[in-house]
């Protein structure tokens, strides 16, 4: 038996979570380094997996298969295609930055009141590692039920991260902050839990269908697809549509798609910036990823049936998210609405069902992860310095802290998809892919880019330029730790913007597989000017 690389990639952070939690309370610095070491180890494993993955090889590679609970048809089946291996790598890449950026977020506050000092550092870092383990497993799972288990279970550590370690710079004061924070955490949990429970009903329905047609119920993606290919297993049209809706609802809440997005601004606004990055750049990607892997593969006919509605919803997300971002007074909520807009692009790309759209959507997931992380983390540094996250409290920062302003600018430009930075490539592909099949939708989606320029540039102008506002005068520039966080992300944005081939090469074969699942070929006048 070969070394179970995929299990190890998930097990290492899980073990790290336990190890971090076990560090004695007084040694909080040791706990931070323990957690960082484990996250770096996971990154190494994820890179090994990416290197060992052969884009021209079998569809699912590095597979592992064991029966977990026979009576439930639950298998511990892991395997990665090009899309999954890239998503695992993205997750493993971002976690160390999240930790470094949040290095002091869970330090105890000064003051005599013991309740104010209650911020268990160990818990914060252990929870991040736990989320990483569960996200990695849900990217790797090729058993529908196995995926569901981690998809749901990751809500609990996320919930504690949002509710337990909120932003210290709250406009409404400490008591209001606590109230808002617990509201945001509960809203996050309830939205996602309801989505998950509806998916559970669909999962049970899928089990009943496989049990009826195949004799024994199964959740193994491979078994179901094989049985369908050989004609043993066929879902009725109505059943397929209902099951598709059950799955899609859960993913649309997670992604999030308009009108199920309302939890995201609350959660990202109230959480600390690193946790907000964890939500939008890592956890939410599971939603869009699952649309690709489960919705399209398991329910190809229903996916085509639902496409028009989903495309319209995605379009609304793009425009609505961007419009609300323009109107925000709060930096973090602005970035949250920008994310809603970007998730609209990703979903548009997925359901345009063209190879450019699909490749673009996958690349978009990666690039959005990196660019939002860069923007949000720098915004976090900014907010911590000023003690406020209201845009109007800032002004003239670039005179006082030029490096901070510069990195913020680059993060912002990546967010508005400036050519030369990574998100441009993916956004362009999504738009081209959409345009080739749905020209009108493609044109409307382009409006999202215009609006993105508006909200990013206005944000920059209001916070960074102009006369130095009160409270900004003595603002320190980025510290070494913060530069270490931001610099590699910016480097990656530039690199993937100029040379996206390495990632695209891994992703493209898997995109072809997925498209063939839904029996879609690119429309005739497709722009085949691809590398």
């Amino acid at each position: 038996m070969s070394f179970p690389l995929l299990t190890a990639t998930a097990a290492l952070p899980a073990v790290g979570a336990i190890a971090t939690a076990a560090v004695p309370a007084a040694r909080r610095v040791a706990a931070k380094y323990t957690a960082l070491a484990f996250s770096l180890g996971t990154l190494v494993l994820a890179i090994i997996a990416m290197v060992r993955f052969d884009p021209g090889g079998a569809r699912y590679q590095l597979t592992e298969s064991h029966t977990w609970v026979k009576n439930f048809g639950l298998h511990y089946d892991l395997g990665v295609d090009g899309i999954a291996v890239v998503m695992v790598a993205l997750t493993a890449l971002l976690i160390p930055f999240v930790m470094l950026a949040g290095w002091h977020d869970a330090d105890p506050l000064e003051g005599p009141d013991p309740n104010r000092r209650w911020r268990p550092t160990q818990g914060f870092f252990a929870l991040i590692l736990l989320v990483e383990a569960m996200v990695v497993l849900s990217f790797e799972a090729t058993d529908v039920f196995l995926f569901y288990i981690f998809f749901e279970a990751m809500l609990i550590p996320m919930y504690f991260l949002i509710g337990g370690f909120g932003d210290r710079a709250h406009p409404g004061g400490e008591e209001e902050a606590a109230r808002q924070r617990s509201y945001a955490a509960v809203k996050f949990l309830l939205y996602n839990l309801v989505g998950g429970l509806i998916m559970l009903a669909a999962i049970i329905g899928l089990y009943a269908a496989t049990a009826r047609q195949l004799g024994t119920g199964t959740f193994s993606l491979q078994q179901i697809l094989d049985a369908r290919a050989s004609g043993q297993f066929k879902l009725g049209t109505d059943t397929e549509r209902w099951l598709f809706l059950g799955f899609f609802f859960a993913f649309a809440v997670k992604a999030p798609l308009w009108p199920l997005h309302t939890w995201l601004p609350n959660a990202m606004g109230e959480a600390t910036s690193p946790v907000a990055v964890l939500i939008t750049a890592v956890v939410d990607k599971v939603g869009t990823f699952a649309m690709l892997r489960f919705c399209l593969q398991l329910f190809p006919e229903a996916s085509k049936w639902a496409t028009p509605v989903i495309l319209v919803l995605a379009l609304i997300s793009i425009i609505y998210g961007a419009l609300l971002a323009v109107g925000q007074r709060d930096i973090k909520r602005l970035i949250a609405y920008a994310s809603v807009s970007h998730f609209g692009f990703i979903i548009l790309g997925i359901f345009a069902m063209t190879s450019q759209g699909e490749s673009g959507a996958t690349l978009y997931m990666v690039n959005h992860g990196i660019s939002t992380a860069a923007l949000m983390l720098v915004a976090g540094f900014l907010i911590t310095r000023r003690g406020s996250r209201i845009i109007a409290d800032f002004g003239g920062v670039q005179k006082v802290a030029p490096v901070l302003a510069g990195t913020f600018m680059i993060g912002g430009l990546a967010t508005l998809s400036l050519p030369g930075l990574a998100p441009f490539v993916s956004e362009f592909l999504v738009l081209v892919g959409t345009f080739s099949r749905y020209p009108v939708l493609g044109i409307i989606a382009t409006l999202g880019i215009v609006l993105a320029a508006l909200y990013v540039l206005v944000l920059y102008q209001r916070t960074m330029t102009g006369p130095v506002k009160a409270g900004i005068e003595g603002m320190a520039d980025l510290k070494v730790r913060e530069v270490v966080v931001v610099a590699p992300l910016i480097a990656l944005l530039l690199f993937l913007g100029v040379y996206p081939k390495p990632v695209a090469d891994i992703v493209n074969p898997s995109v072809k597989h997925t498209l063939s699942d839904v029996h879609k070929t690119d429309p005739k006048p497709a722009l085949e000017a691809k590398k």
């Binding site: 026979k70 439930f72 288990i149 504690f160 924070r181 617990s182 955490a185 309830l190 839990l193 009903a201």
Partner: protein, 553 residues
């Protein structure tokens, strides 16, 4: 009570033989070995009564605790031995002149009840939580049950250091009744078992040390409503006897199937469908009352709140196991031929139970009442499995009951720990910030709440998935959908408690968490362990429940 028990089987066999066509008066043939779990529990309970009379007061507590633990453990060993010998599968049969079934479901449920009772004994025996009274450690029970609350007699009893050690024999009698209840194979045994386990519970409910008036009120309510439901059950039994001319399960079932010989004396009424339908309805009402299904759930919140918390935990877990066992046997053995009549009704009951339990729980402000309504919602989930009417339905219900009962025991054990000057602090507002004061206790309670909510990787999820899967395969997909919706509602209030514990500022005069003795710690640890094991590696137990899923007819 013990006298009634001794004569119970004897009277019963006389009675059935009189109704039979034979003239002879047969000697009852009792398979003592197969009934050994029940006999051991009753025997030890009897010894406990004697101990209460003859053992000096000083050593009574120790003697009773040891007796109860040894007795329950021995009975559990007997159950395991019977299962090992194949009585759960191949050698399953009906013992004691047709009165008691020894089969898979019976043994599985008896094993569960005995383990639950064993853990419950630990919480009953806890004496470190309440502050010392007059230099003595005291438990959760009144110094003297008969003393008027707040009166001189009570003060004298407390001063003298009286303790109610008879709770242990009472517990054992209740357990004995619960062991027979799911195994009962004729309606009279069912009724006797019901009374045998209910009466000790009524008394136990009234014995709280703190808030005695509330405890006594709870006991009276429980008694009155319980008596009412017993009357329903008994009346239903009479009607069914009129219908079938027999009280044995197989006898009634064969009349329903139309394969039975008809007794001449009852030829006028035999086969009268009105008797059958009304009879079924009344018997089912009696059982649904014990299960706590809507609309027969009214007693649960008051009784759960008023009873001493260890008793609540025991009652919530074990009664549910026993009553669902009896309900399953009734529906699967007696009434499979009537499936088309009872299924729609049970659908309605299940839906009402799930939704009402979850919705009403949202408004609760007392942690014990909250858990009471949550137990109502869970009864609804279990009913969804009951309705599946196939082997998967039985085994999923068995698994759910085992999973649920340990979560419940653990949760109530945690409730006993959170205290202020007035005893247990059960009002939810008092729990604010508990996670900061005592992270471990709050984390443990959070595990139980997540299991109740059915979050993956806990036993609650495995159980819920099992029953919903069985229901879906039995063609009850609408029930599954109602189930997940009410799960979502239920999740809201479980999460609310977690929010309160972890994200709210602690109150300045908030309750403290008492440091328990190893007894309660063990009970809670067992609860957590079972919750996680059944959540992470349920295969062995699912297999066990699967093997045990066949009723003997």
């Amino acid at each position: 009570m013990s006298a009634a028990l001794h004569t119970g089987p004897a009277v019963h066999s006389m009675w059935t033989s009189a109704a039979s066509t034979t003239d002879r008066f047969p000697t009852p043939h009792i398979e003592y070995a197969q009934l050994s779990p029940v006999l051991i529990v009753f025997g030890v309970a009897m010894v406990g009564v004697l101990a209460e009379a003859f053992v000096p007061r000083r050593s009574r507590y120790t003697a009773q605790v040891v007796l109860a633990i040894v007795g329950l453990a021995a009975a559990f060993a007997a159950v395991v031995a019977l299962a090992e010998k194949g009585y759960g599968t191949t050698k399953a049969h009906i013992a004691a002149m047709g009165a008691v079934a020894v089969d898979g479901p019976a043994l599985f449920l008896q094993g569960t009840i005995l383990l639950v009772a064993l853990v419950a004994v630990f919480t009953f025996a806890e004496r470190r939580l309440d502050p010392m009274a007059h230099g003595q450690h005291v438990d959760s029970f009144a110094a003297q049950g008969s003393a008027v609350p707040g009166g001189d007699q009570e003060k004298a009893a407390v001063r003298a250091g009286f303790t109610t050690t008879e709770v242990f024999p009472l517990l054992l009698f209740a357990v004995g009744g619960m062991l027979i209840f799911p195994a009962a194979n004729d309606l009279l045994t069912l009724f006797v078992a019901l009374e045998v386990f209910s009466l000790p519970l009524y008394i136990l409910c009234a014995l709280a040390r703190r808030n005695r008036l509330m405890s006594q009120e709870a006991a009276v309510k429980y008694f009155l409503l319980g008596a009412f439901s017993s009357a329903f059950l008994l009346f239903g039994i009479a009607l069914l006897y009129g219908y079938a001319g027999s009280v044995s399960y197989s006898g009634i079932s064969s009349v329903i199937d139309g394969t039975a010989k008809i007794t001449p004396a009852l030829a006028d009424t035999t086969g009268n469908d009105a008797l059958l339908l009304i009879g079924i309805a009344m018997v089912t009402v009696g059982l649904l009352f014990k299960v706590g299904a809507v609309p027969f759930h009214m007693w649960t919140p008051d009784v759960y709140q008023g009873a001493p918390t260890p008793v609540t935990g025991f009652m919530a877990a074990a009664t549910k196991v026993a009553a669902f066992g009896a309900l399953l046997r009734l529906l699967y053995v007696v009434l499979p031929g009537m499936r088309w009549d009872w299924r729609p009704v049970m659908w309605g009951v299940a839906i009402a139970t799930m939704i009402a339990g979850a919705v009403i729980a949202v408004t609760q402000t007392d942690v014990k009442r909250l858990l009471a309504y949550s137990s109502v919602a869970h009864a609804g989930f279990i009913l969804a499995g009951v309705i599946a009417t196939d082997k998967d339905g039985v085994s999923s219900v068995l698994f759910y009951l085992a999973a649920y009962s340990f979560v419940t025991l653990g949760a109530f054990a945690v409730v006993t720990l959170v205290r202020d000057a007035g005893g247990e602090a059960t009002h939810l507002s008092r729990w604010a910030g508990l996670g900061r004061r005592s992270p471990l206790v709050a984390a443990v309670f959070a595990v139980f709440l997540l299991a109740f909510a059915g979050i993956p990787l806990t036993s609650g999820f495995a159980g819920k998935f099992a029953v919903f899967k069985a229901a879906a395969q039995g063609g009850a997909m609408p029930l599954v959908i109602v189930g997940v919706i009410s799960s979502a509602i239920a999740a809201f209030f479980y999460i609310r408690v977690i929010v309160l514990m972890f994200f709210s500022e602690p109150k300045a005069d908030g309750p403290s968490v008492a440091v328990p003795s190893p007894l309660t710690s063990t009970a809670i640890a067992v609860g957590v362990a079972v919750t996680l094991v059944l959540g992470l590696a349920p295969q062995y137990f699912l297999d066990l429940a699967d093997k045990a899923g066949v009723f003997v007819r």
